[in-house]
Amino acid sequence: MAGLSKYFIAIFIVFYTFHCFAVFSYRNDEERRVFYLFQNVLMVLTHVLGFYVLCVRKEDSSLIFLCVFEEILFFGFIILFRVIYPEASRLVTNNICMLMAIGFIMLARLSYTRAIRQFVVAVIAMAAALIIPWLMQKIYLVRYRYWIAGIAGLAVLLFMMTIGTVTNGSKITLTIAGVTFLPSEFVKLLFIFFVAGMLTDEEHTDPNTGRVDTPQLLASMMIAMAHVGILAMCKDLGSALIFFVVYMFMLYAAMRMPIVLIGGTAGMAAASVVGYRLFAHVRNRVRAWRDPFADIESSGYQMAQSLFAIGTGSWFGLGLAAGSPQSIPTVSKDFMFAAISEEMGGLTALCVILISLSNFLMFMNISMSIRDMYLRLMAVGLAVNYGFQVILTIGGVTKFIPLTGVTLPLVSYGGSSVLVTLIGFAVIQGLYITAGNMEDVGPYEDEYDYHDEDAYDEEDEHRHPYRGYR
């Protein structure tokens, strides 16, 4: 049974992933509901079967308890979220659980203690995720106080620069009472709130063009570059890159100018060259990317191990606990994707990419359904942050691009990452609910015209008292 399990797991995950995309073709809510339920069943089957194999292969029956607790957590989260926020996107909720289930299986396989710690963080994070959509109703409280988010974020980063410790050569961490945080993860959320508020502030917006005025634009740029600069100075180039890209796409969406993307990409290219010249670890990673086998004993080791893992695993994998993922340095964080590919197989790994893509598309879908510019831009920021992070980590692990040392959201080990990602997902759900409420108002045009906004605002005002408030 354990021998065949890898095929079953792969089939479950493929079916699950199929429904991530097929669900869009069903206009009927009743039909969708059945599919969402089916996804939940597949998730449970995958998770339970994975743990069963681990129990057999590792001869460790205590894993059963972990499995049961995790199932309780998933069920609790799915049911509570459904009850409290019936209008929330079930696809997003399902995907959170599926990705976490895959991550839980691999973590239990790699390190029992880490699996337990991840579980504890997940409990906290899911509890937080349950409150956040409700908190989003109070978003007007911070809407025009975006400066607080921007300055608080910068302050945290500056504080970190002075007292934080550097791990892995390029990550600043802060340890409080035995718990280690990655502050840059939390600052990312503040940053998105800040940029969204800044670039949609009506007070600074030209009513004719719908773009913010130059002082506002320059101020946002300066604060954004300050974030990126501090992170670069801390050698956390992966985070610096994510902040930059998030800002670039948010600015593009808000200013509606393609030059932002062109200029931003050119700027990134220039910064890459500077980074390459300046930092030895960047040069090492570029070298390992170009030919990991040239220097397989040192700089290419990690990359080569990852490629061995993916290649040896082939489509169906070596089977859980039947490969050697622990030979990849930092496997449970940056290289989780390679471990999944090795033991659960390339097919499952491919599905992880597609589920992540489905999340990104869902986020963008949500952003398009929101007509409030502030909330829409926030959704865009969160979507880009998530999508880009997935590209960086999976692209890095598969040698598509040089490695940046970013974790795979929801799947990799790492408390801060899980917490922040789940908060981000919950915010999106909050936005989705808000958007859902607004949809009753009436149809909106594809080419949404800024000039009409006043009309909508008036119409909306009685339903959403916070809109238009200062």
Binding site: M1, A2, G3, L4, Y7, G210, F249, Y252, A253, A254, R256, P258, L261, F293, I296, A304, L307, F308, A309, I310, G311, T312, S314, W315, L318, G319, A322, G323, S324, S327, S341, E342, G346, A349, L350, I353, L354, L357, F360, L361, M364, S367, M368, M373, R376, L377, V380, A383, V384, G387, I391, I394, G395, T398, K399, F400, D446, E447, Y448, D449
Partner: protein, 468 residues
């Protein structure tokens, strides 16, 4: 913020995701094999726990390597031919070498029927890995093994038109059946280095074999006048205080290019070497794969060639006749010879012909593969004529008057500091009009090429053509 910008963002990300997904799919499906087969991949051990290593077969269907049970019912790797195929087939019991290494991932992959595979996986029984069929011929291999006699060295037999290896012997050897048990002894024998496959990894001075390159270069630089070349050999030639003598003090007298080559006249070829355009010679050496990657799956050493425009007269003189700092592997010489036989087109050296599952169902056939054209068909034809003359009137005339004709070149590569000590080289191919096989022999310290390597090659050609 219109929807158009949001769609643009969606499309940008979608494009990157698709490219990344495509890259991943391509690598898992097509790129993985080369990566997985890398010696540094320790995960092959994980595969070996799930698959019974497949067998390796000779061209005639006899087994060269298989999994078997010993007296204590332990699983062992059995090599029926013992030391005879030790290097080319290799072993998998202490690391992997030879074909065991080149086909490692194939042997550890099971393409058994899906139903049976699933059944075994369910029962927790290992599946059987695929079979690898080689082009190696045990009859020729044994002929090569005995032809080399008591000497250390290497013999390679290659199909002239396909580049397929029919036999490859290296001595001294070892028994692959017991290599793991005797590892300490075998691996520490630095005097003989029995683990080294001399055919692919042994670096030897080419001696007069290199005159094929010098000759080629002279003809290429003087396309209209090379037939007018004339030189009077007085037994030695001196330039800038360096002197080169003919082998064993021979004096060849009046010669043209053809007789210089046939008699392997050192002084004449030194004279030619001094007339060559050195950067062009260097380009030719490059094209002939000196210092380059060789088209083979077996572990090999790169040949060395270090002449450039700054080289001194002495170095040029020595290099022209294959002494100096040039070093070659026998396989490299075999490949150059093969290219000459095959109208200038070098083929990939192939040992693996096909792959089947353990029941014999064909999985993949490997067609002969052109690697690179190193000279034109016309140039190859002229070189062939010159090499025929070697076996007709020159140093290889022991190969004259047989049921088959041979075009070849001998070499006596001096090594060490004792005068007159040399490795005995021969490389050549049979039936130049419609070439059959390429035979390359080197016998360490066996004297001149015509003394030992030519008769050894004759016995191998005889075995191939069934002459006794």
């Amino acid at each position: 913020m219109r929807k158009r910008e949001l769609w643009t963002i969606v499309y940008i990300f979608l494009a990157i995701f698709l490219a990344m997904t495509g890259y991943f799919i391509y690598n898992v499906q097509f790129g993985a094999k080369a990566v997985v087969n890398d010696d540094h991949n320790t995960r092959k051990k994980d595969l070996a726990r799930q698959v019974i290593r497949g067998s390796i077969y000779a061209a005639d269907g006899t087994i060269l390597a298989e999994e078997a049970l010993n007296g204590e019912h332990q699983e062992i790797r059995n090599y029926p031919y013992g030391e005879i195929f030790a290097h080319v087939v290799g072993f998998s019991t202490r690391g992997t070498t030879g074909i065991e290494n080149a086909a490692d991932i194939d042997l550890l992959t099971s393409n058994a029927p899906v139903g049976e595979k699933l059944q075994k996986e369910m029962a927790g029984v290992r599946n059987t890995g695929d079979r690898v069929y080689t082009s190696l011929r045990p009859d020729l291999q044994m002929a090569c093994y005995s032809a080399l006699g008591p000497y250390n060295g290497a013999v390679t037999v290659m199909e002239a038109k396909t580049g397929r290896i029919l036999a490859m012997v290296s001595k001294p050897d070892f028994d692959p059946n017991t290599v793991s048990e005797n590892w300490a002894e075998i691996s520490s024998d630095d005097d003989n280095s029995p683990l080294v496959n001399r055919a692919t990894q042994g670096l030897y001075p080419p001696g007069s074999i290199f005159k094929m390159v010098t000759l080629y270069e002279y003809m290429k630089e003087n396309p209209d006048t090379y037939t007018d070349y004339s030189y009077t050999c007085s037994g030695s030639i001196t330039a800038d205080d360096s002197t080169i003598e003919c082998y064993h003090g021979s004096i060849h007298g009046q010669e043209d290019l053809l007789t210089s080559f046939a008699d392997s006249c050192n002084t004449s070829f030194t004279n030619i070497g001094l007339m060559l355009d050195i950067p062009k010679l260097s380009d030719t050496a490059d094209r002939f794969l000196f210092g380059r990657v060789l088209p083979t799956d077996l572990a090999y050493s790169r040949s060395r060639f270090s002449l450039n425009s700054a080289s001194g007269t002495k170095q040029i003189m020595q290099t022209a006749i294959g002494q100096g700092s040039t070093l070659v592997t026998p396989l490299h010489i075999a490949l150059i010879t093969q290219a000459i036989a095959n109208d200038g087109m070098m083929m990939r050296a192939q040992e693996i012909v096909k792959k089947t599952n353990y029941q014999g169902t064909l999985i993949k056939e490997y067609q002969p593969e052109e690697y690179r054209r190193i000279m034109t068909a016309e140039e190859a034809e002229v070189l062939t004529e010159y090499m025929k003359e070697v076996c007709n009137t020159g140093t290889g005339k022991k190969l004259k008057g047989l049921s088959y004709t041979v075009a070849g070149k001998t070499g006596s590569a001096e090594f060490g500091n004792i005068k007159g000590q040399s490795h005995s080289w021969f490389t050549g191919f049979s039936d130049p009009d419609d070439p059959d096989i390429v035979v390359t022999v080197i016998a360490e310290g066996a004297g001149s090429g015509s003394e030992y390597a030519v008769p050894a090659a004759k016995r191998i050609f005889d075995a191939y053509y069934g002459v006794h």
